[in-house]
């Protein structure tokens, strides 16, 4: 197991370097940087003090140095936990990102759990009742969820909740709790608001998971050992749950790697529509104002979130399935 973890971590290193490179390129992409815009503004106002501020900026970030030097400076700062300054908010980036990133983690986690809870029974039903009306109907619903753009679904849900429940469900909690300390009432309020984004984002991932679980389970159900179990008189329920289902369960864990980027993508656009205090709106605003340090750092944090998620799912899978743990460990020792 330790060998497997070590192997898994060494694979991660080049990926992290790749992520930082892509992020750096994106930060550098827009023609002209935020600073030149600020300089132009300063000159227009003619204040000398703000010009001094800018000079310190320029020196701190090595904006006069060649690109590769800037990259090295940026990465070493990163390793020390310094992500640069958001020009727009005039605050260190990590202060802007921190809270919203946590909320993103919560929303994404809840969405994945929701996807599992929905996909599991439907997938099992579809596989055991292959080609029945229920199978076709549920598959169609899953596909509809896949094909409907998230943002529009969010908009319609927002309206529906407003009309039918009389609640305004924008945001992630009622306004009076936003700056309040955590309490039971605040927690309940968050739960009341959380279900809409979770359902909306979850719809797009559910269809894929249902189909994979259905396909896996169908493969297993045709195998000899199931026939043997049935022939020996095992009740159908046990003959399903005891072995085939356990074999078909792998996608639930393994799919986190596919599901997580998808869920985070969905969370970004849905939270723009529902104006949740997650990364979405802040990222969009940062991109619109070309506040590239903030935008790039956001992107990198989201990518890191995915990498860590995939790592966790791989480790879980290794715990559950000795074939993976032993196979990979032996292959690379």
């Amino acid at each position: 197991m330790i060998a497997y973890i070590a192997h898994r971590l060494t694979i991660m290193a080049p990926t992290l370097v790749g992520i930082s490179l892509v992020t750096f390129v994106i930060i550098q992409l827009p023609p002209g940087d935020f600073l030149s815009t600020m300089i132009a503004e300063c000159e227009a106002r003619g204040e000398s003090s703000c010009m001094d501020d800018l000079e310190t900026f320029r020196r701190d970030f090595g904006l006069d140095e060649p690109l590769w030097r800037q990259y090295v400076i940026w990465v070493t700062d990163l390793l020390r936990g310094d992500m640069g300054v958001s020009f727009e908010y005039n605050k260190p980036v990590e202060e802007v990102i921190g809270p919203s990133l946590w909320l993103t983690v919560i929303v994404s986690g809840a969405t994945i759990v929701f996807t599992w809870v929905v996909a599991f029974p439907i997938g099992v039903y579809s596989a055991t009742h292959q080609y029945s009306w229920g199978d076709h109907g549920l598959t169609l619903i899953g596909f509809l969820g896949l094909a409907t753009p998230n943002f529009l679904l969010a908009l319609v849900m927002l309206f529906a909740a407003n009309v039918w429940f009389g609640t305004s469900i924008g945001g992630l909690m009622d306004p009076e709790y936003i700056d309040a300390d955590w309490s039971w009432a605040k927690f309940v309020s968050v739960l009341e608001h959380l279900w809409i984004p979770v359902v909306v984002i979850g719809t797009s991932g559910t269809a894929g998971l249902i189909r994979r679980l259905r396909a896996n389970l169908l493969d297993e159900l045709q195998k000899q050992y199931v026939v043997t179990a049935r022939a020996k008189g095992l009740p159908p329920g046990r003959a399903l749950v005891k072995y085939p289902l356990r074999m078909a369960l792998n996608p639930f864990i393994a799919d986190i790697g596919n599901l997580l980027p998808q869920v985070i993508s969905g969370a970004v656009i849905v939270s723009v529509v529902l104006s949740l205090p997650t990364t979405g709106p802040v990222l969009l605003r940062a991109l619109q104002t070309q506040d590239m340090f903030l935008a790039g750092s956001f992107l990198m944090c989201l990518a890191l979130l995915t990498v860590v998620g995939v790592l966790i799912s791989d480790l879980l899978l290794a715990v559950l399935d000795p074939r993976i743990r032993l196979g990979a460990g032996a292959g690379h020792r």
Binding site: I11, P14, T15, G18, I19, V22, I26, L29, P30, P31, F143, L144, L146, A147, T148, P149, N150, F151, L152, L155, V156, L158, F159, N162, G257, L260, P261, Q262, I264, S265, G266, V268, I269, V272, V273, T279, L283, L284, L287, Q288, Q290, A295, G296, F298, L299, L302, A303, T306, V307, V310
Partner: protein, 390 residues
């Protein structure tokens, strides 16, 4: 004879006087012969045909792609025609009978009033104004494919009347016509994007699978890096970085390149795993021994064995691009007017007021859903058919 055999008694000596045919056992019925002689592509077609939903989806997509060739003729209005008398006019229902009499397809004209308390425009259909729809008629002028000046339409509103099948937007433009025009952009975005990602996927996956070693390692790490970025934020960041000075057409190409640039990873993985298996086959070794260069081995000998799989998985990744473009344009980071795509149209439906007051502005989502579903079903059918021997 059977009785004799069962009885175990002595069998009578029989000589069949028909000439002996040594192939009799192996001879195939005509159907079997047709099956065994059919080429692989014919087999695939037969298998594909059995997947009803996929065939219908394919037909639907063919229609949709056909319509973008002549959308100027199909649309009752020009893309940019504005009628300020009908700002936010609701959809008009097409009727056949007026006061119990058959008139043919027509719509009731609108009466307009301004609600003075809410300042809302109220349009009520007036049963006195019967406006028959004209067919094969002359209407708004347009430039067919940007060159030919024409006025011919398949359907037009009645003289002096209106025909807003899906309502009108905030400038009084016909949503139905704009949706038809939008298909031209939205559908081709996916096609160009998939072409780019197909090229990248085949080349990089091919190199990685054929050479192995450090090339494989590098490509694999690149794939992992790209896959760990959530797609939409990455697309957002890159399209936000497109220079503001670019013309809308350049932005359109920029967006398609961005969409294609990060979608090749799945294809590359598929190509790689197939190549890893196939390069061990005898025919590949034979080609190498005869002195074929890697490029020839990959493209001439190995790729054709799984082209069908590639086409199927490419089909399955087009809907992602269409949805991606829609989402980007909805956020205002993708295509910009005057380029009209379904996403740009949905950009108008950004807030809850629209859902409450002018819900028909959300209708361009219907073709998005239909096209995405159709591509998914078609891809499913193609994937099943790609392996006709199973």
């Amino acid at each position: 004879m059977t009785a004799a055999a069962r009885g175990g008694g002595r069998r009578p000596h029989v000589v069949d006087d028909r000439p002996w045919d040594p192939d009799a056992v192996e001879r195939l019925t005509p159907e079997q012969e047709r099956f065994y002689l059919a080429s692989q592509w014919t087999l695939m077609w037969w298998k594909f045909r059995r997947h009803r939903l996929a065939v219908w989806s394919g037909a639907l997509l063919a229609l949709a792609f056909g319509s973008i060739l002549i959308c100027e003729i199909l649309a009752p209005y020009n893309l940019h025609t504005r009628d300020t008398d009908f700002i936010y006019a609701p959809p008009q229902a097409v009727r056949l009978f007026h006061e119990g009499e058959f008139v043919g397809p027509f719509v009731y004209g609108f009466d307009y009033a301004l609600d003075m308390t809410t300042l809302r425009r109220v349009y009520t259909p007036n049963a006195g104004k019967v406006q028959p729809v004209r067919f094969f008629c002359l209407g708004d002028g347009y430039e067919f494919w940007g060159v030919l000046e024409m006025r011919f339409h398949l359907v037009c509103p009645a003289e002096g009347g209106t025909l807003f099948l899906l309502g009108a937007d905030r400038l009084g433009r016909d949503m139905f016509s704009r949706t038809l025009y939008g298909a031209r952009i939205s559908l081709t975005v996916g096609l160009i994007g998939i072409a780019i990602s197909f090229l990248l996927g085949v080349v990089l996956g091919g190199l990685s699978g054929y050479y192995g070693g450090w090339v494989d390692g590098a490509v694999q790490r690149a794939i992992e890096t790209i896959r760990s970025f959530p797609e939409l934020p990455l697309w957002m960041a890159l399209s936000a970085a497109l220079p503001v000075t670019w013309s809308p057409v350049l932005v359109y190409f920029g967006i398609t390149v961005i969409l294609g640039l990060f979608d090749w990873t799945g294809l590359a993985r598929a190509v790689r795993s197939k190549l890893l298996a196939l390069r061990e086959e005898d025919f590949a070794t034979a080609a190498v021994l005869m002195g074929a260069k890697p490029r020839r081995v990959i493209f001439r000998h190995l790729l054709p064995s799984f082209t069908s799989h590639l086409i199927a998985s490419a089909t399955l990744s087009i809907p992602g691009m269409i949805l991606g473009e829609t989402a980007l344009s909805f956020l205002g980071l993708g295509l910009r007017p005057p380029i009209t795509s379904w996403g740009v149209l949905l950009n108008e439906a950004q807030n809850i007021n629209v859902v409450a007051l002018y819900p028909w502005l959300m209708l361009p989502v219907a073709p998005v859903i239909v096209v995405v579903l159709a591509f998914n079903f078609l891809g499913d059918g193609l994937r099943d058919a790609a392996d006709p021997y199973s």
